[in-house]
Amino acid sequence: MKSFLKKFIQYYLKVLTKFVLWRHKPFIIAIAGSTGKTTVKEYILKFLREKYGEDEVRGNPRSYNTEIGLPLAILYLESGESSFWKWWKILIQAKIKAIFSGKFPSKLVLELGVEKKGDMEYLLEMVKPNIAIITNIEASFTYPNSSLDIISDEMKTLVERISEKGTVLLNNDDARLRDLAEFSKAKVITYGLEEGSSAKAENLETDIEGQSFKFTFNDQQEDVKIKKYGRHFVYAWIIAKVVKSIL
């Protein structure tokens, strides 16, 4: 019964999501990868909102990024978790929003959560991203992990689906992602600290204030300071900067 209900909710939300996206045609920026998706999303939202204003750009609330989470993110609804009645209410709200809501942001920044084979295909049946960003492909386990190859195939699916007019951003410091560039019809921008990155961070230093680095993209240079620790923040800043320059 539970499984039937889940499938019904999934199908219903998918149909409404496709309808909403067809109706409003927002510019979609999709972020996939093992980690760092939320940080990248937050940086892109911050940079784009500076340029376009708060109401024009929306991201997934929390990390709603799965087969049910993603439609909720697009329809801007909360999860009903395990409550039948909450879900009933949400399905009614979803229908009203899809059909009657006039206001919709012009840009959506969406995390795509992928765990197993077929997940990406399912999500891409709902959303057609204009820009795809892949952060990394990493394992949480120590043993040789065939699941990483499955995830890599899922990321390949995303790269292949971006049209010639779109852009794909790949982490140049991740060997698996570097190899995906050849499958793209779209323009590929690589980012990272390694040689050969189109958008590159150099001279990365950490102190009590945070991190500093020199950023180079399209022959432009900039000294950057971020008050947070970890390479993923550096990547997130670079990605957001590149996305802002594209839009």
Binding site: T35, S82, E138, A139, S140, F141, I208, K228, Y229
Partner: protein
């Protein structure tokens, strides 16, 4: 071969009281600091899902699954604490493993570790296991159990390697305020020692005068601070044995090697449960907070009725109260201990005798204050993590016991 070592590690007095209590029928326990709740449903469901999806049977990376560490870093960021989830966060098998692994990584034999007096009983054995020597720093009871900075500095020697403390403090339920913490941080820089800040009760602050402050917010000491948090109390997950530490990457690397040697990785099923706790259990956390506040008010009301027996500092956090026992009462109860309990009295002091009398005669389990350090003598610790019914029943029994003694 030496069989008795002066540094021998004994079973925690809290567990000893629980064991004694379990052998006596009809005892109400206010001893061990265990929440009365079951783990929230969203956490259990996520753990079951992880099991069914085949995610938990194998070791995770030594510092923990990436998803969990990433969410931990995001949550810390909301509290103005900045750590790199890839290099600076280690998920551990409970906070005591985080503490022990840290001490094992930092201490050389004979190094001294400062601990507040009174403080959590398990700190002393953890320090001893790591070859260190615990050095008590008395807190000022009349100043709401604050650090006495002059006393703290007096106890610093060339052998001092670290300060280990719990904020909010167990057993007093009080908070170390920002000014005192900054003074402690200055001493750590001046005398070059590390600070282990165990903040397991940080989510249960009831009505402190100022916003709860953590030394993990202070960037200037991030190379000498180890922040520790456990899921046990906040999310009613004591049995899952799951916690984490966050520290500068150079320290994290050293601690990770010990953590790997001790446990390889934290239980993977518990890591998924912890992920659910951070992502889905906000409502439960708020619910527990409200309930503990109600219980704190109840236990204070009941203590107020026993003014001739106890005086206490009102706890602003956690779920403990640490009342001082009236001298005359203590003298009357501890003066002539029965032969069966003399051994326990020799090991401890009046608070031991008092706690044992309460256990055996009133059938109420508490923890003798001496277990938490010399300044804890003449006190007992009561936990209000238990239900309101248990608190009321325990106090009814104590009132009857004191009435019978005509106190």
């Amino acid at each position: 071969m030496q069989l008795v070592d002066k540094n021998k590690v004994n079973l925690s007095p809290i567990k000893e009281m629980e064991l004694r209590a379990s052998r006596i029928p009809g005892v109400v326990s206010l001893a061990q600091g265990v929440p009365s709740f079951d783990t929230p449903d969203p956490i259990k469901r996520r753990a079951i899902e992880a099991i069914e999806q085949g995610k938990v049977a194998k070791y995770s990376l030594a510092p923990g699954i990436l998803e969990l560490r990433e969410v931990i870093a995001q949550k810390l960021e909301e509290e103005n604490k900045f750590f790199d989830f890839e290099e600076e966060i280690i998920v551990t098998a409970g906070s005591i493993e985080a503490i022990t692994a840290t001490l094992l990584a930092l201490l050389a034999p004979g190094d001294e570790v400062l601990i507040p007096d009174p403080t959590y009983t398990s700190y002393q054995p953890a320090i001893k296991v790591a070859g260190g020597i615990p050095v008590f720093v008395p807190l000022e009871e009349e100043n709401h159990w604050a650090f006495d900075i002059a006393e703290l500095e007096k106890r610093i020697t060339p052998k001092t390697k670290a300060l280990l403390f719990c904020n909010p403090n167990n057993p007093t339920g009080t908070i170390f305020t920002r000014n005192y913490l900054h003074a402690v941080a200055q001493l750590a820089i001046k005398h070059d020692f590390y600070i282990l800040s165990d903040e397991v009760y940080k989510d249960f602050i009831f009505d402190a005068n100022e916003k709860f402050y953590s030394l993990a917010e202070l960037r200037g000491i991030r190379d000498r601070l180890i922040y520790i948090f456990s899921f046990s109390k906040a999310y009613a997950m004591t049995g899952w044995r799951i916690a984490y530490l966050a520290t500068h990457q150079k320290l994290a690397k050293k601690i990770l090697a010990v953590h790997d040697a001790l446990v390889t990785c934290a239980p993977v099923v518990s890591q998924y449960a912890a992920l659910a706790a951070l992502e889905m259990a906000e409502e439960e956390l708020a619910k527990y907070h409200a309930i503990y506040k109600k219980r704190r008010d109840l236990i204070c009301r009941r203590l107020d009725k026993l003014k001739n027996i106890f005086e206490y500092q009102k706890p602003d956090s956690a779920y403990f109260v640490f009342p001082r026992i009236n001298k005359e009462v203590l003298k009357k109860i501890a003066l002539d201990p029965p032969a069966s309990n003399r051994e326990a009295i020799r090991a401890g002091g009046g608070s031991w005798q008092f706690a044992i009398e309460l256990l055996e005669k009133a059938k109420v389990a508490t923890v003798p204050g001496a277990a938490f350090g010399p300044s804890g003598e003449d006190h007992i610790r009561m936990c209000f993590g238990r239900s309101e019914e248990d608190i009321d029943l325990a106090f009814d029994k104590m009132e009857m016991f004191f009435d019978n003694l005509k106190l």
